[in-house]
Symmetry: C2
């Protein structure tokens, strides 16, 4: 290529997941790789009706440009929903509609990060958050994370000893990739440390509504006395991802900054998609819909974990998610999930090796398994095959 690209392009690699997903588009592949919702639950008929109503009632508005901030009734609904489910205290002006919650991460990089700034994150963390932030030239510090959340001593040690920390990025509920959920105390401690060290927190929460058991926990934001916690959310997992509608919620002064940045980035989100979702929320019972999704994923999680227990060797460990889409597995130290994937793909089984979820220090003996996107029969059959392949692989090591 004769033309010269930006330096950041040297560090931007093909996304392993996206490449695996291409393989998995073959219909005979059993894929635990993606994070795709179950399409059989998309409310197609309701959406069809709602789209028709929106075009009938306000077609010219739905197809025209709108404000960068987003469609007011939708912003209002999101604020109320967060307040009632997560204990926050938002109104519509605290909400910016984004092109999926992924855009919330990209805009956060643009608003907060200069070259060589530092982002603190869980270890492991969401792979596409690493890509989003890395495009702004930041570095990462991985904070050790156990069953209850980040290690707060390690977090404070990093905050106290490191210059240029600009963001702490966390997914405290049904984390991607591990499925783990932070306890209440760690949520409170995080808010206190963020305030003490003047660092902004991005609390990413795409899965929080998909709880199978146990009690809902409040947002980290409820412990925020200084306005430093920003929350992202999404309709992708509770409605459908094709519309690409998510949001970021934060103090109004910060939301104004995000609006300015979004103007130059893509002007605004899809008008009709915002109006269709708002109309659906007005006419239908989303709680009932979410209950259906959660019930199905619970059944699939149960099938998946039973299959792992039945078919997998004993010298592995895996998480028991109370909600969300993923379980996380650790193989013996000397195993490589990338090698296992090569073997699995020969038998038309796919998953994501865990290494990509660590920005600095990949643990190659880990892997992520999704259970939301396939029938129970395929989950069981696929894990039986994968368990056999793993046993053989470990025996040969």
């Amino acid at each position: 290529m004769a033309v010269q690209l930006a330096h950041r392009m040297a560090s931007i690699k093909e996304s392993e997941i996206r490449e695996i997903l291409k393989v998995t588009q073959q219909p005979d592949v059993i894929s635990f790789a993606g994070g795709l919702p179950a399409p059989e639950l998309f409310p197609i008929e309701a959406i069809d009706r709602v789209q028709h109503l929106v075009l009938q009632e306000s077609g010219t508005q739905a197809l025209q440009y709108t404000t960068t901030e987003g469609y007011p009734p939708l912003r209002h609904w999101i604020a109320e929903r967060m307040n009632s489910r997560l204990g926050t205290d938002f109104d519509a002006d605290n909400i910016l509609i984004t092109h999926g919650s992924q855009q919330g991460l990209d805009l956060s990089g643009k608003v907060f990060l200069d070259q060589d700034d530092i982002v603190l994150c869980e270890s492991p963390t969401y792979l596409a958050a690493i890509s989003a932030f890395k495009a702004y030239g930041c570095r990462f510090i991985e904070i050790p994370t156990d069953q209850q959340g980040m290690d707060m001593e390690a977090l404070e040690a990093a905050l106290a000893s490191t210059e240029r920390i600009k963001l702490i990025y966390v997914i405290p509920t049904f984390q991607n990739p591990t499925g783990k959920t932070w306890n209440l105390k760690k949520r409170q401690q995080l808010a206190e440390l963020a305030s003490k060290y003047n660092v902004a927190v991005i609390e990413d929460n795409p899965y929080g509504e998909l709880r199978f058991e146990g009690e809902d926990l409040p947002s980290v934001r409820t412990f925020d006395k200084t306005g430093q916690i920003l929350c992202t959310g999404s309709f992708s997992k509770i409605f459908c991802p094709g519309f690409r509608i998510g949001w970021i919620a934060a103090d109004k002064e910060l939301i104004r900054k995000y609006v300015l940045i979004k103007q130059g980035t893509d002007l605004q989100c899809n008008t009709i998609a915002q109006m269709v979702i708002a109309k659906y929320l007005e006419l239908y019972d989303i709680d009932e819909h979410i209950q259906k999704i959660a019930a199905l994923y619970k059944k699939r999680r149960d099938i998946a974990l039973q299959a792992i227990q039945r078919y997998f060797p004993e010298n592995i460990s895996y998480t028991y998610p109370q909600g969300g889409l993923f379980t996380w597995m650790e193989l013996p130290e000397n195993a490589s999930a990338r090698h296992l994937l090569e073997l699995a793909l020969q038998s038309k089984i796919a998953f994501v090796p865990g290494g990509s979820f660590f920005p600095n220090n990949p643990k190659e003996n880990t892997l992520r398994l999704n259970y939301s996107n396939m029938s129970e029969e395929r989950i069981d059959a696929g894990l039986q095959t994968l368990g056999g392949i793993l046993k053989e692989y470990l025996a040969r090591l």
Copy 2:
């Protein structure tokens, strides 16, 4: 605010147009400010039918995640359209679907620009392109531009004498804000200079299909022997803007880079919007639709230019656009379009002062007038009022 933002935030200002547009949402304001298409021509019934068909035929696909590259039939249509209308030689793999052509500009900033790199642009140029590129810390050099396009001697002088020029950004057809169109020779010269100095060109073309008279001109890309010209396009002006679907077309190697960058930015564009547009293009005659739009805008341009001739003072000049949405006016040197706007708003008339369209050296005696978004009666009445206000203002100067 306790938390610290990125340095770029210091230079990101409220967009003047967006703020003016908020004022113009009052129904009694006559606005020449926005660049909004005529909503009465949105094909609402056709879209209603097509949305229903897409959901019926492939609902789960339309509501699910899809590839970053975009929906293959839509990418294919775009390549064929550009080849037949603009003389390019693209196939589907040369096309990335973007969230409006604005996202094509943002992604171009991300792919090409490091802090303190330089972008060359027409003077004046599209205001939101300035915002998009500026977010990546670049500086601008404005190249003088006359009725036929950029001054090629000035362009070569800048290219020959300046380090770190990474992009040349141009809108050669029905330019925003001036309505001017580059001649064939300048298009060829631009491609040759870009190649000679190894600089990439973004040829932005949102209005090219809206020609009222005269002959279509080929894309700058048709003169590109070294793969350095990138083209952006959009369905916003020929279909409707609410869907936020545009594209960038370039060499495949470059498109791969854009795909990687888009993955971390927002994963993909709205799936159902892409499928709805593709289905519309399959079932309906877009040429017929575009002819209707162009006929209406031609009538409105004629009314606008006649009204200017009739009601405005003689010591001004303005462009005669052969297509697109805007005319550009220069007042006497000592006049300020910002002052004129203050007076005009008192009479409920809005337009955009030209100063914002110059990244470095605002000419405050200029303004942009849009004629696409209002009835002919309002255009005539609004310009009669504005002409009177301008005469009075100039008399008092």
